[in-house]
Subunit: 233 residues, 2 copies
């Protein structure tokens, strides 16, 4: 499963971007016949800086460089290929979704969501951006937030803006259109809904909420502690 590494990442070379650029041009295994002015123009820096940086990359054994009065030939060195691949795999862990559906328990929850849903400033945005008027009451779900992040990767993130009243400030929300169904239940209807996550959700917090235009507890005949299944819309 894709997951977020807990180890600290150190970037020994700040040149990953340049390596990525060169790789786009040469491919991973081949030689690119070019000159420093072309690269300078692409990257928006001076010819002189390109010359210097390429020499630095060569000294760091990240690229193989062959300079002459007719230009430079550049290819990736093994080290450069490996460094770039490492960087790619790090990003792949963040960006590759391999969770197609979420199964999670309904927590009894205090229905904090119900309180928020009662504010027209939120309601208005839900109608406008999600296309339905939410039932005043939410399902609170106990989740592993890292799994949720992974699951949501291919979803469309809809931003619900926060607002202020005289009494207090209400934070922004992120909403994702989803479908919800009950698990282990003869009733396997799928109901359109939205997964809601406050902008301020901490990366190790573990509760998200589901809203819909109807009472999901009734419609899906849900009991407390029952599991539901969520898929992307």
């Amino acid at each position: 499963m894709a997951q977020i590494s807990e180890t600290a990442i150190r970037f020994p070379e700040e040149d990953i971007n340049l390596l990525a650029y060169l790789t786009q041009k040469s491919g991973l295994f081949n030689v690119w016949n070019t000159n420093t002015s072309i690269i300078a123009n692409d990257l928006g820096i001076s010819q002189q800086s390109v010359s210097r940086v390429l020499r630095e990359l060569e000294n760091a054994k990240l690229i193989i460089r062959e300079a002459s009065t007719s230009g430079v030939k550049i290819s990736l060195a093994d080290n450069g290929r490996n460094a770039l691949k490492k960087h790619y795999e790090l990003l792949r862990n963040v960006f590759s979704s391999d969770i197609k559906s979420l199964s999670c328990k309904i927590t009894s929850g205090l229905g904090e969501g119900r309180y928020y849903m009662s504010f027209s400033q939120y309601k208005k945005q839900f109608i406008e951006k999600l296309g339905f008027e939410p039932f005043e009451g939410t399902l609170n779900l106990e989740v592993d937030i890292a799994k949720v992040n992974n699951f949501l990767l291919n979803g469309v993130c809809i931003n619900i803006n926060g607002f202020e009243t005289k009494e207090r400030t209400f934070g922004g929300l992120k909403a994702f259109n989803v479908k919800v169904s009950a698990k282990n239940n003869k009733n396997n209807k799928k109901i359109n809904a939205a997964l809601i996550m406050p902008d301020r959700t901490h990366h190790d917090k573990n509760v998200v909420e589901i809203i819909a235009n109807k009472n999901l507890r009734n419609k899906l005949k849900l009991k407390d502690n029952q599991e539901i299944e969520i898929t992307l819309d």
Copy 2:
């Protein structure tokens, strides 16, 4: 199909690495409660620099930052998420292999390979690194080198070193263990072989060679212009 973009890439922010780091920590959608010293320690730069860089990222609207005397809360802004995703997709084009086998025509070729195979300096390395003594003669293949790069991604790159004689210099080679079979032929034997590409192959050149420990033309009953199929070993 994954392919190498021909458009110039400009990096508006040199901060992709830092964004990638932060994303590892916070996830794509959540808030990370930390402090500048922790990040400084992770990245090997000073607390002061982290403070400055985070403010820069905030000004560039790449992250959302909330600093106080008890630390900083950091999350990705939409722009930051998009910038990072763009960078990821660029790398994915380079690194994600979606070509499982290569079909290519045998060119009549002048058997340049045969000449090279006759040098013990190469032969010795083939025996040692590939595990077989190459038949003195190669198949020349007409290919799209970008496709070959993609195909070879999951292969193991074996470097064959170049050498010098009194007369001339012989360049290094890259070798990949593969299996070769004839296409459109009752004989569908798969024979162990190696795909060979000179280190100096230009990114738009279009010939690679195949070597094996036997005469592939005979063993696979190949005619000129016939297609063969190559898979990774």
